[in-house]
Amino acid sequence: MASSKFPLAPPEHSRPHAPMGEGCFLGETERQQPLALKEALAKIKNWFRANSLWVMAYGTGCGSIELRPLTTARFDMERFGMAMRPTPRQSNVLIISGYLSVKSLKRVIRAYEQMPSPKWVVGLGSCTINGGMYWDSYNTINRLDLYVPVDLYIAGCMPRPEALLEGFGVLMEKIKAGEANGWNHYLEQMDWYKENQKKLITDWDLPDYNW
C-alpha cells in the first residue's frame, strides 16, 4: 500500500522557534529581547489572533452544507469572533470542508499561500484524514496533510455544527498556547510539500510560491 515514492510521515520541525509559536526565523535576525518580555508579547498577540478568526471556507460539496447552519441563527459562530471572509488575503483560517479533488487541490494550494501568516488549516470530515468513503476514488486525495499543513481535523461525515464549534474552540486554545504551528512547518519544509504537490499535480502551472 505505502508506495516508496512518498515519505509518509512529514519531517519534524528543524529550526529553533521563538517562544509561544511566534514563528521560525527565516532569514530574519531575531530581535534581542528578554525572554520573559517576548513570551508576554507573544501571549498578547496570540490572544488577539485567537479571538478574531477570519475564515475562508473552501466549501467542497459536503462540508459547506453544515457551514451554513454554523454561520446562521441556530449555531452562530460569529459570537466567537469568527467571520467569513471571501478573499484569502484577509483570512486566517482555511477550512477544507471535505474531500479534495486534484483540480480543487491546486486552487487550495494557491489560496493557502496567498493568506497572510499566521494561518491555520482545518480539515473537516473523514475524507480529509484518510479519504473517507472515497478512499478508492481516482480523483480525490486521501491525505490532506501531504500537501498543506493541517492544524486540526474534525472527524465525522459530515461533522455536526456542534462538533465544528467544539473544534474551533480547540483551535483557539491551540493558538493561544502557541501550538498551532502548521504555517511554520510549511515554510520550513517547503521542499517536501512542493515535491508532494508536484508529484500529484501533473500540469503544474503555478508559480513556486503564490504571493
Binding site: L8, W135, D136, Y138, D203
Partner: protein, 179 residues
C-alpha cells in the same frame, strides 16, 4: 408505445427490444440509424426531449453501448434508444444539432469513456478532469484502486474490511439482514 416501436421496426429495423414498464421501452438499433431515427423521433413523434445520454462499457463484448433516453413530456412515457459501437473505433455520430445540451453529454462521454463524437463542439476540452494522463477512467479496464495506490497514498494503519470475508457466514438468525 407499441405503435411507435412498430414504426421504428418498419422504418429502421430493430435488433432487439424490451419493455421495462408501461411507460418505458428500449430498442437496440444499428449505429448507422442513430441520427436518422433520433431526428425522426424528434421531428415527427412526441418524443421531443433528450433526457440523458450515457455510455456503458461492455468490455467482454468489445463494445460500448450508447443509450439515448427520449421523453414524451405530454404523453408521459420514455423511450431508450440503445446502440452498440465497437470498442476499438469508439466513434459515434453527434446529436448536438438536435439538442443543444447533448454537447455537454458528449463532452463528458468523450472524457470519461474516450468515445469520439466528430463534429461536436467541445470534444477534447477537459470537462471534469484536469491534467489526466491515464486511460479514460470510466472504462472497465481502468483500475481505480491501482490508480489510487499510485497517486493517493493512504495513511498507514488503515484497515480494509472486504465483504468477501463475510460471505457464507450467517448474518442474523435466518440469513436475512432484517429479521
Amino acid at each position: 408505445m407499441d405503435e411507435i416501436i412498430q414504426r421504428i421496426r418498419d422504418n429502421f429495423g430493430v435488433l432487439r427490444e424490451h419493455r421495462q414498464r408501461d411507460d418505458l421501452a428500449e430498442v437496440w438499433i444499428e449505429p448507422r440509424h442513430v441520427l436518422p431515427l433520433l431526428t425522426w423521433l424528434k421531428e415527427h413523434t412526441p418524443f421531443v426531449q433528450l433526457t440523458h445520454l450515457s455510455a456503458v462499457d461492455w468490455l467482454e463484448d468489445g463494445e460500448f453501448q450508447l443509450t439515448y433516453l427520449l421523453t414524451d413530456p405530454v404523453g408521459r412515457r420514455s423511450l431508450m434508444v440503445a446502440v452498440r459501437i465497437s470498442r476499438e473505433e469508439a466513434t459515434a455520430e453527434s446529436v448536438h444539432t438536435l439538442w443543444a445540451h447533448a454537447v455537454t453529454y458528449e463532452q463528458e462521454i468523450n472524457e470519461m469513456f474516450g468515445i469520439h463524437f466528430p463534429g461536436s463542439p467541445r470534444q477534447g476540452v477537459p470537462f471534469i478532469l484536469e491534467g489526466w494522463d491515464d486511460i479514460p477512467p470510466m472504462r472497465r479496464d481502468f483500475d481505480t484502486v491501482e490508480y489510487m495506490n499510485r497517486h493517493h497514498p493512504s495513511r498507514p494503519g488503515r484497515e480494509h474490511t472486504d465483504p468477501r470475508r463475510y460471505i457464507g457466514q450467517v448474518v442474523g438468525e435466518k440469513g436475512y439482514l432484517h429479521d
